[in-house]
Amino acid sequence: MARHGVRYLFIGNAGAVLLGFPDTTQVTELFVADEAENCRSLLAAVGELDFQLSASENEQILRGKDFVQLKNGPFDLDLVFAPDGIERFDDAWRRRAVVDRFPVCHMDDIIASKAATNRRKDQESLPRLRAFRDYWLANPPPGQSIGDA
């Protein structure tokens, strides 16, 4: 992703796990900046990751679908261009954490997104996520940076 210059952030449980939240997840969710050039870079990157996309599927991503679910690669991948609870990609980008070399939504954004989605499974996980958010801010993990320098 980075090599192709894709502007994206890990979000959802996968993002929380990267930040240190002890949990399991079945899908990697990426919040991707909804810009034509970025979508072209994204397609090149997911192709390199061995996701098999047809011309029609590529076209749908380029046309600006807000939510794309890929189950045709080495792992399940959700591409989210307009997550619930977050207004603009650039705002989330400014608040991002970086873990190793991976850009991740701030815990506040991960929580805001799940709270806005308001599914039963989100409601069940939110108290633990909020407790982790407080722990994470009080105990900054080594090797992680938060927000624009």
Partner: protein
Amino acid sequence: MAEFEQDAAPSPEELRQWRAEFEAAARRPLEQRLKYAFIKTYKPVMDDARFRAFDTTADYRRWCEENLPEWLGYGRV
């Protein structure tokens, strides 16, 4: 089915337990955390297509509610 208590406040015991889990996770290297975090179990309907795209996130949420088994937890509260 019992009424789900929305976003119930955790008990002090739960908070102590969670904190112990967070501290244990913080001691594990990233690679190890990722190795054990990503799992795969079959989800009916959800896993039966290799590609889906929705014009809006709201369309996706609606599709989940109308098509997925309730027990998967994708229905909105």
